[in-house]
């Protein structure tokens, strides 16, 4: 991946990456890289924060300040970074287990505070790093080493969760549509407030193999057949949307942003203190 763009945004000395053949995480990394380029991100003033998992290893590939933290806690660490230096751009990279299981509490509260950061969840529907156990986004009845008889729990809709928790921007894209994913991430990077992008990505090694979904190419084809753009989804009735994944920009709202609200509070308190 030694293109001029990669030279500019990635630690090329860290490549090749650690991900398996056919894994979609590299596609999401590429989309984020192009989005950073589109918004002309200053990489001296960008911090990429991640948790633990295959997805979270992406933080180590970006050529900027990077913080690879503990499992599930990326958003909480990122909150500290952003509050200490609000002028920095903070991007959080996380997996579906990292974000929605162990880190679920931090997810809803970062969204509720609407603190400015761009959170990208690489959703491969399993715990990739620990070899495919079920995650909060594993579909009902899917198979996993910790659900050998079929997973009986319901899965989380991460975008819906982000929206109701108070995020300013919510979008979803899949790896088969990498261009549109980059575009949606770029919009997230421009948003004032907490911006969330769910990137649906394939894990042929664990999820695909265990559930007999075929090769990476087969899994991408599956994505194409099961995704519906949000504009078109609005014209379909619930029965037609059954089993479909809605992609595109799902939500945007302009709530007060946390670091700005805090700066206003400080200004007000200090003014009162001197008068």
């Amino acid at each position: 991946m030694s293109t001029p763009l990669a030279e500019k945004y990635l630690r090329v000395d860290r490549l090749p990456h650690i991900w398996c053949r056919g894994c979609g995480h590299g596609t999401v990394l590429g989309a984020l890289m192009r989005a950073l380029d589109e918004v002309e991100a200053d990489m001296d003033r960008t911090v990429v924060v991640s948790g633990i998992g295959c997805a979270s290893r992406a933080a180590g590939y970006f050529n900027c300040d990077g913080l690879h933290t503990t499992h599930g806690r990326a958003l909480a660490f990122a909150t500290g970074v952003k509050l200490a230096r609000p002028e920095l751009r903070v991007v959080v990279i996380t997996g579906d287990g990292d974000l929605a299981a162990i880190g679920g509490n931090h997810f809803i509260h970062a969204a509720r505070r609407n603190i400015e950061m761009t959170c990208i969840c690489f959703n491969n529907h399993v715990y990739g790093m620990t070899s495919g156990q079920h995650s909060p986004t594993s579909p009902r009845l899917s198979l996993a080493p910790t659900a050998p008889y079929g997973h009986i729990e319901r899965d989380f809709d991460l975008c819906e969760l982000a929206r109701v928790a108070g995020a300013s921007y919510v979008a979803r894209a899949a790896t088969y549509q990498a261009r549109s994913m980059a575009r949606l991430i770029a919009r997230a990077l421009r948003q004032q407030g907490f911006a969330f992008v769910e990137a649906i990505t394939q894990c042929p090694t664990y999820y695909g193999r265990r559930n007999r979904l075929g090769s990476a190419a087969d899994m991408l084809r599956w994505q194409k057949e099961h995704t519906v753009d949000v504009a078109r989804a609005r014209q379909l009735d619930p029965a037609e949307l059954e089993g479909k994944i809605v992609v595109g920009e799902l939500h945007r709202a302009d709530w007060p942003e946390y670091t700005r609200a805090y700066a206003e509070l400080v200004a007000r308190v200090r003014e009162e203190g001197t008068s």
Binding site: R45, R73, F77
Partner: protein
């Protein structure tokens, strides 16, 4: 603007918060828990007025994480908690130790285990403060015995945290945290502030963990344009992950050596009546107050009693104890747990003198009379 200098009546928790401000605190993240909550409440009021940041996070795990994140972005950062909250902070405390993020963690001890006796004092976290997080890691733990010392040692905690790039724990307890005493606050300008070694902005070829010139590598603070990679994986000088081998061992040994190499400076003690002592009471925190009283009462009875208070619990002042062990008949170690400090005393004494443990775990402070009773037993066997 920190405090006005002068005499004030204040609570231990407040003195701790005041000390933090005097030490240049600019970031606090916490989660309410008795008996530490006053630290957060006090800072919620004061920090915005100094232009600093206060945030109540969603739990203690998040508070610790936010503190480390802020520290890596250059802030002088602190959190405060008790019992269950201290347990929750452990994983990210280890992260702070490994990535060398300076920070201060206040643990106002309460009686455990679990929810225990939430409003009662304890010293049950002496070992957790040293070994609570998994893996080998450096630890500096300071234990004040008065309100005034809460102020002073919080300043010390910040300075050590910054200079050594380590998390420093201030280990107090419900008695010290809630007690009110007279404190003489020094002129803020007289308080020495040490800062972490830091790589200048945009230094070409900067390595975030360059340890060839000092055992405390200068920090590549986020946003300074040095593009640091910081990870909880074992890492090389560039901050990049490494596998098993000599480099991994060298990192773990260096982290521990930052404290070991400075033991004599770090291991502070307070001793009284030790010159001719035959029996020495070793106690920390609130129990040391009863212990000193007991030593004075023992002297009135003609017992040659002495008093030794580790101000620094970790690294434990074992050299001092070892020297005393050559001279005295025995030690009494009263503590509000089933025996934690006493292990360290025994380790330092190595059988050269008697060591008598005295435990109390009913949630009440050990009295001077109880310590005196134990002293008599060792002095007149």
């Amino acid at each position: 603007m920190p405090h006005e200098p002068g005499v004030r009546l204040m609570q231990g928790n407040e003195a701790c918060a005041e000390g933090a401000l005097a030490a240049g605190l600019d970031f606090f993240a916490g989660y309410p828990i008795t008996p530490s909550t006053e630290v957060a409440e006090f800072l919620a009021e004061r920090l915005p007025r100094t232009g600093g940041t206060f945030i109540q996070m969603e739990d203690e795990i998040a508070s610790m994480a936010a503190v480390v994140g802020a520290s890596l972005a250059g802030a002088r950062a602190m959190t405060a908690t008790s019992g269950p909250g201290f347990s929750l902070k452990q994983e990210n405390l280890g992260f702070a130790a490994l990535v060398e993020a300076p920070c201060v963690v206040v643990n106002v001890q309460r009686q455990g285990p679990s929810t225990g006796l939430p409003t009662s004092p304890s010293q049950g976290d002496i070992m957790q403060a040293r070994w609570g997080t998994h893996g080998d890691h450096p630890a500096v733990v300071l234990a004040p015995w008065s309100v005034h010392e809460c102020f002073d040692l919080t300043v010390t905690a910040f300075n050590l945290a910054e200079r050594l790039r380590i998390p420093v724990i201030l280990l107090t307890d419900e008695v010290i945290g809630h007690m009110r005493e007279k404190v003489t606050l020094p002129d803020p300008s007289s308080i020495r502030r040490e800062s972490r070694p830091r790589i200048p902005p945009r230094t070409p070829g900067a390595l975030p963990y360059e340890d060839r010139h000092s055992d405390v590598p200068p920090m590549a603070v986020f946003g300074d344009g040095n593009r640091a990679h910081v990870t909880g994986l074992l890492h090389d000088r560039r901050g990049y992950p490494i596998g098993p081998g000599p480099e991994a061992a060298a990192l773990i040994r260096r982290l521990q050596a930052k404290v070991d190499a400075r033991r004599s400076e770090l291991a502070m003690v307070h001793g009284e009546m030790l010159d001719d002592a035959e029996v020495v009471v070793v106690a920390v925190g609130c129990v040391a107050r009863s212990a000193l009283r007991a030593v004075r009462l023992a002297r009135q009875e003609g017992i040659a009693a002495g008093f030794l208070r580790p101000i620094t619990v970790w690294p434990f002042p074992e050299e001092r104890l070892a020297r005393l062990a050559e001279e005295v008949r025995g030690f009494v170690v009263p503590e509000m747990n089933l025996g934690q400090l006493v292990y360290e005393v025994e380790r330092a004494v190595r059988g050269r003198a008697a060591v008598r443990a005295y435990s109390r775990v009913d949630g009440n402070l050990i009295t001077p009379e109880e310590v005196l009773g134990a002293l008599r037993e060792v002095a007149r066997p």
